[in-house]
């Protein structure tokens, strides 16, 4: 497995800390709630082993917003939210906008169960767009690298399926930079994680840029 040096890990953690702080500020503005951030933990894993690693802390149903980014550093950015948290979040942002999945309704009626509310896909996708962009833009600005984003996509499926499709789509995407930072709001009702999946060359470019940034910070201090 690719190992990070202590200097790389420290600099990356600080960079992610700043990126997540911007994300939290955006989320706080959107919801009117204070967002609690844990200290970031960074690790690099072969993408094929990512599911196993994620299983340590992501449990149950999740909603994932995926956004592809391109530039000197290119890859996939994923925002993972616990499913119930995604519901809370979409309610917080637009409590009047009811959304019920038609298929769920049919199933619920058939099973004679209470109708289950589904997170509003439009709202969740836009939340993902704002949060992923605010975090990645900080990386771009700080590291002085240009990053372009694709249209975000929402997946309300098990993470395994999504990760599997990423592996199949691009064999070069061999490493995932796992950003183990969780954020919580509304007394832990909403928890989330962000993951960046990078190609080998992008990961190398990112590490060079991060080390350069850390050296400059120390020189300028």
């Amino acid at each position: 497995m690719k190992e990070l040096t202590e200097k790389q890990r420290d600099a990356l953690s600080e960079l992610l800390n700043m990126g997540f702080a911007r994300t939290a500020a955006s989320l706080s503005q959107l919801t009117g709630n204070r967002v609690l951030l844990d200290a970031p933990y960074v690790s690099i894993h072969p993408i094929k082993k990512l599911s196993k690693e994620l299983a340590n802390f992501v449990t149950g149903e999740i909603a994932t917003v995926q956004q592809i980014f391109t530039g000197n550093v290119s890859g996939n950015a994923l925002l993972l939210l616990n499913y119930d948290g995604a519901l809370v979040l979409s309610d917080l942002i637009d409590p009047d906008l009811e959304y019920e999945d038609e298929n769920d309704q049919k199933n619920d009626q058939k099973n004679n169960q209470k109708k289950r509310k589904t997170p509003n896909p439009e709202i969740l996708t836009e939340i993902g767009n704002i949060l992923l962009n605010s975090c990645m833009s900080v990386f771009g600005n700080i590291l002085n690298i240009s990053i372009s984003f694709s249209v975000p996509r929402l997946y309300l499926e098990a993470l395994d399926g999504l990760l599997h499709s990423l592996v199949i789509q691009d064999e070069e995407m061999r490493y995932a930079m796992l950003v183990y930072t969780s954020f919580r709001l509304k007394e832990n009702a909403v928890t989330g994680y962000m993951i960046m999946i990078l190609s080998v060359s992008s990961l190398d470019n990112l590490l060079v840029a991060v080390e350069h940034w850390a050296d400059e910070l120390l020189e300028d201090a």
């Binding site: 702080a21 706080s28 200290a39 120390l218 201090a221």
Partner: protein
């Protein structure tokens, strides 16, 4: 000599702050987590503490509350990447005397420390 305690789990941030403060006649101490910060604080009684918020064991906000509970005169400046207005408000309510954000600006860091020292 004025004693300043820098608390941050990131060695990079501690190094940056230490270098920024080195041009002043300060005695600098460091702590890499919340527990160590409380230990050093009560052993050394620094004049000012720079305190990060997102740390692995105890959050900076808890450290701030604990120290202020035991020493109501503690001068603690929050040094964090957190930009939320609600966080700034929470730290003010917990007794922080200043708030500086990452990436650190040397002038802002020194100015905030000078203000806190001049007001004490």
């Amino acid at each position: 000599m004025v004693k300043i305690l820098i608390t941050d789990d990131s060695s990079l941030s501690r190094k940056i702050l230490k270098k920024m403060l080195s041009q002043e006649d300060y005695e600098i101490m460091e702590a890499e987590n919340g527990l160590r910060a409380m230990e050093v604080y009560f052993l050394e009684k620094p004049d000012v503490m720079l305190l990060d918020l997102a740390m692995p064991d105890i959050s900076g906000l808890e450290v701030l509350a604990k120290i202020r509970e035991l020493d109501s005169q503690a001068k603690i400046i929050i040094a964090t990447a957190d930009l939320q207005d609600l966080t700034i408000k929470a730290t003010q309510e917990a007794g922080a005397v200043g708030y500086i954000t990452k990436p650190f600006n040397k002038e802002k860091v020194l100015e905030t420390i000078h203000q806190v020292l001049n007001n004490s």
